[in-house]
Homo-oligomer: 405 residues x 2
């Protein structure tokens, strides 16, 4: 893409109301615009990153055997009365009425609707296990909206729901889902820790995927040597204790919860009377699990981890970068356009800074765009024998005929 055509107008100053690295970065770098507290529009650059995250999540959920669908934002009261959630969690719901005064809410989660879909269609153990998921904008009437895209009133989530004929089968799928989640976060460039959390009354534990960064709101006790990690809510250890698994030292950190998995069992399927016929012809309640990933929250977390505040510089992890390569042409030359065409033909997503502006402005904007590889072509680089290629491995001069990314 030619930078002269891209919707990209960066800001030199940090927005006055930015309360976190990502809130400041996204607005300064023209990745997002704040519409109101907790609601951001994704501008073209931010949307590009978002779509790459979406692709990774989709691929891993499909590999896990999930089938994608798209449920509704508007939910009728009746469905939520069935589980008792219409009244119990009312404060965090956006409620509204339609033209005939019918009461509805904006879905913050979809257990009710997915159970309604499955109880209408699935009657036999032969059709189990089954995993259905969606990637969708969700809503939460959040009085403490803050931290940019980390805690919003409107955000994108992937929510998957699995249905099983037995707890054993749920357990098998639940363990597989952990690996799928690790795959997702690794591809996003996030080092997510599996943290035991409360399982409610039906299960001993649920699990959270926590990225340990300063902006995180959750307190996690974890071992310095092994994988032991537990959420504060249910922790039976404190800082400095010996790890119950390996004897190492217990540390404390604040985490960002980028995903969670929960063995629901019959928590919602029982009140909704969602049943199937087992192999002995007996009616049984569906055993369920649910599995969430915050897409926009993960995007914000990547910024919290990868943005270098001292250098005012972002470097996006390769798989989610808005562009593979930022090609920066300084001064007049005829080679840059050829390199752009050549790399584009090879399948690279290249942002070509073709504008007639100063080197300083070009580099400052490139620092905000955050492509993992930068190719600079200038009178100086040509005198030195070609172009300058800069990436995480450092900087080198490469002949134009030998550019190999």
């Amino acid at each position: 893409m030619l930078q002269s055509k891209l919707f990209l107008k960066t800001l030199k100053e940090t927005p006055a109301d930015a309360d976190s690295i990502n809130a400041s970065y996204f607005v300064r770098a023209c990745f997002a615009q704040k519409q109101m507290s907790g609601a951001y529009a994704l501008l073209p650059l931010g949307f590009k990153v978002y779509k790459k995250i979406e692709k990774i999540v989709r691929e891993e959920m499909n590999a896990l055997g999930g089938q994608e669908l798209l449920m509704n934002v508007l939910q009728p009261k009746e469905l939520w009365v069935e589980t008792g959630r219409w009244e119990s969690a009312i404060d965090i719901f956006f409620k509204l009425t339609d033209s005939s005064k019918k009461e509805m809410l904006l879905a913050p989660t979809h257990e009710e609707q997915i159970i309604d879909i499955v109880r209408h269609h699935i009657k036999s153990y032969r059709d189990l296990p089954l995993a259905l998921y969606q990637i969708q904008t969700k809503f939460r009437n959040e009085p403490r909206a803050k931290s940019g895209l980390l805690r919003g009133i409107e955000f994108v989530m992937k929510d998957m729901y699995s249905f099983h004929a037995s707890e054993e089968d749920l357990n098998v799928f639940y363990e597989k889902s952990k690996q799928a989640y690790f795959n997702v976060f690794k591809r996003l460039g996030l080092d997510a820790k599996l943290v035991a959390a409360s399982g409610g009354i039906f299960s001993k534990y649920s699990h959270e995927f926590q990225v340990l960064t300063e902006v995180g709101e959750d307190t996690i006790y974890h071992c310095d040597k092994c994988d032991f990690a537990v959420n504060k809510e249910i922790a039976e250890v404190k800082e400095g204790d010996n790890c119950p698994d390996c004897g190492g030292k217990i540390l404390v950190s604040r985490g960002v919860e980028v995903g969670n998995i929960f063995p629901l069992k019959t928590k919602w399927s029982a009140p909704m009377n969602a049943t199937f016929t087992d192999k002995d012809g007996k009616e049984q309640i569906f055993i369920m699990g649910c599995y969430g990933i915050g897409l926009t929250r993960s995007m914000a977390t990547i910024v919290e981890v990868y943005y270098d505040s001292a250098k005012n510089k972002m470097v996006w992890p390769k798989e989610v970068a808005p562009f593979d390569v930022h090609l920066i042409s300084l001064g007049e030359n005829t080679e840059a356009e050829k390199i752009y065409d050549d790399l584009t033909k090879k399948g690279f997503d290249v942002l070509f800074d073709d504008r007639d502006t100063s080197a300083g402005e070009k580099f400052a904007e490139a620092d905000l765009v955050g492509a993992p590889t930068r190719i600079i072509i200038s009178k100086k680089s040509l005198e030195q024998g070609g172009v300058e290629i800069a990436d995480v491995d450092g900087t080198k001069i490469v002949k134009i005929s030998e550019i190999d990314l």
Copy 2:
């Protein structure tokens, strides 16, 4: 995909509340589930078709020079007060308040927010023209929700907004957008007619893209010989008149509006005081156009056009079909699996009916799934020399080694 694993449970009977072909088809064929009046969940098969429509729309909008973004569903009152629309169109809005009693609405369209984004970022004629679009779930407090996915309270639209320094430049882009729209509808398998409609006080005309089918709600006067077509609202001809363009005969039809384009000019940018600096250094109001396509409505329209009610049979147009090929194996044989692997490796999206059910049931379900090509392998076909391939061109027996789609 193996049919034994696919979320596909068809219904033999038409749902009692189905008021149109698509409402009946989508539910019977397990493409969608009705959640409440005007709100349908897209089940895995329906979601597959929807994603193919989305891909086509995205490709054509990108080719037109559009840059994709994603705006917000939740809109603050202040923005809509600026254009005067908070009060004027209040009946069709879903309004709600957040936890601090702040008034908001669920966006039915995005002129206000896109103008707000552009007036924050774009200051100079040098950055024009600019076209931004999104594909998003929209909401309309619709008391007459009906006809399945044709008229809902929750639906997916593509909305694009263009910004120009002059009316001449708007006109150039507006004409190009017509061709992009024809490309989209052609790829969707829809024969859309360009129909002149009211342009409001700023423009003589806007334009609608109408598919003439019985379920359509709009009355269109059009010529039997040339491209003349006009919406009833502004028609100065009646049925049987001579066409003012070519002298042909004027016919009357009810249309489904699958898209529209509108030369807004300064209709909303003026009240929002959205300005840029022109090449003479003078402040000017942005000249705008807006361009909509109903994605879920187009999906429903395809069913209205392609579903054969007499035969209870759907055949999806190739580019939007849920699967390229439906491979149906009857009785025991070892060849079907090999054909499935082979076609999948060649890049075809194949649904393989690997279930142990009757031929009658398999064919009835295949008629609902609606893949454009069907390959049947049975004892009979093998005796005749191979497999039976059925598509719009008819049926033929082909040797397994010579299957070539």
